[in-house]
Amino acid sequence: MLREWMTIVTHQQIAHQTYLLELQGEIAGLVDNPGQFVHLQISEQYFLRRPVSIADVSPIKGTITLLYKVMGEGTEALTKKGAGEKIDVVGPGGKGFPMDEINSKKALLIGGGIGIPPLYYLAKELTAKGIEVVSVLGFRSENDLFYLEEFKSLGEVHITTNDGSVGTQGFVTDALPALDTIETYFTCGPTVMLKNVKEKLDGIPGYISIEERMGCGIGACFACVLETPGGCGKGYVKVCSDGPVFRPEEVIL
């Protein structure tokens, strides 16, 4: 992990309140697995860093791509930064999806909203390993849609929106494909969605990526802990350093 001033290569809006930020620097060369994140310092005015998951890595350009949603003043201020500017980044943080462990023929990816981005890099890496990928992506509305074509180029895609403006109306759990051939699932999104997915896909081996407010982002401050079932292990895990990716049976959501 490094603290580094990365250069903004691209910064553009790609959907409602959703931006693509491409950053160049040494950190790009340190990413081990999809599902890791970087911790951005927006400016001196914002005391805490913002954790943002890595949506793509380009080893050739030495860049990482982040997709983020404007959630408040901090991320709003971030949208004002232009290409060529530098940004203070710590990363890559956390442990991602363990690519070496995964030996399925067919994987199901389930993403909700701004939980979708890390699944894109994951889908690329899975297909590169010859694993067939089916994605179920949930958005609030048509205006929020992003990366649809990118996911489609990697496999079958199902879309849901809360208002039904595109795809199936409802939540990701309302549009799950036939599960009989799915050997592993991967999911990232709001905790309530993760809970439902975990329940629906009980019995299928899975990996869930969790979002939580963080302090240090490196495992020192204990801001982003989750309890473990039956107090197993230490009785807790730290989302930032033990995660953000866990097996569903490892954590209490």
Binding site: D88, R213, I218, F222, A223, V225
Partner: protein, 302 residues
């Protein structure tokens, strides 16, 4: 050559800069950023008698010039700290100050006694954690209880004892005098200030514990004022902390009366902050006309 060394009871430091308790875990995570032997000392996260999970999340929220936290003293318990966390730090050439917390006098004594035999160099007694329901802060807001806990800990510990004071009091000098009388070897000033943030969307406090401890540059003037007051009335060395981000901040603390300083939530913003401040301090001391750290201590009182 600027002399940055500082000698305090139990701790001989290369420089006056150490990470503050709770902001540095037990050191492991920061050791991937720099060599911990550079630090003047290291204050580890609080230990309690038994393992504690702490509060529900969210545990942190951002504020203007700072942050709120309500971790709730999560730790593996004193035996776990001694067995699993401290061995990592021993090889570093940095004195270790162990932070002691508890809900009862007995718990403080038990934890202090165990830690004083563990190989650490000094104890910091946390009578000021605002984020736990029982214990912690009530020992730090009542001078008689503060006296009592200090006395008990001194009785069971052969190590120097620093009492970490709470700013959530009307008379900080009264508290400092009480623990001095009980035999404290030094003071840590200050812990966080109790605060709250409410989310207008949910109409609920952001932090699950509702209140949290405010840290960061927002509290620095409070800490400076309290150290300035206590320095005049109490004859104990002070480790100053609260919102330090620059070496100019450190000089301000020294001038107010701190002999050394601890860096807290700035470690979250910049994991290299302690290393950078240590590197820059000699030049800053020189800029303000000092040849040593000692020369600057209490400089605002002459």
């Amino acid at each position: 050559m600027i002399d940055t060394t500082v000698k305090l009871p139990g701790i001989h430091m290369k420089n006056p800069i150490m990470p503050a308790s709770g902001c540095f875990g037990f050191g492991k995570e920061f050791s991937q950023f720099y060599d911990l032997s550079l630090l003047g000392a290291i204050i580890i996260k609080a230990s309690t008698g038994e393992r504690r999970f702490g509060n529900q999340t969210p545990r942190v929220a951002e504020t203007s010039s700072g942050m709120l936290n309500a971790i709730g003293l999560q730790n593996p318990g004193v035996d776990g700290v001694i067995a699993d966390e401290l061995p990592f730090l021993y090889p570093y050439k940095t004195p270790i100050i162990a932070n002691v917390a508890g809900s009862t006098l007995e718990e403080y004594s038990l934890v202090a006694e165990k830690l004083s035999k563990s190989g650490v160099h000094a104890l910091e007694i946390n009578i000021s954690c605002p984020n736990v329901k029982e214990g912690g802060v009530q020992f730090g807001t009542d001078p008689e209880l503060a006296y009592e806990v200090t006395k008990q800990v001194k009785k069971v510990s052969s190590l120097p004892v620093y009492i970490k004071l709470s700013p959530n009091v009307t008379d900080i000098v009264g508290l400092a005098k009480a623990v001095e009388k009980a035999g404290a070897d030094g003071l840590s000033m200050i812990n966080t200030l109790t605060g709250m943030r409410i989310d207008p969307h949910t109409r609920k406090p952001i932090i699950a514990n509702q209140t949290g401890g405010l840290s960061g540059p927002a509290i620095k003037p409070v800490a400076i004022r309290m150290i300035h007051q206590v320095y005049q009335e109490v004859d104990l060395p002070i480790i100053g902390m609260g919102g330090i981000e620059t070496t100019d901040d450190i000089v301000e603390y020294l001038l107010a009366g701190a002999s050394a300083v601890a860096i807290g939530s700035a470690n979250f913003k910049n994991p290299n902050i302690c290393k950078e401040l240590i590197h820059e301090l000699p030049e800053t001391l020189q800029k303000f006309g000092f040849n040593s750290v000692k020369e600057a201590v209490g400089g605002a009182h002459h």
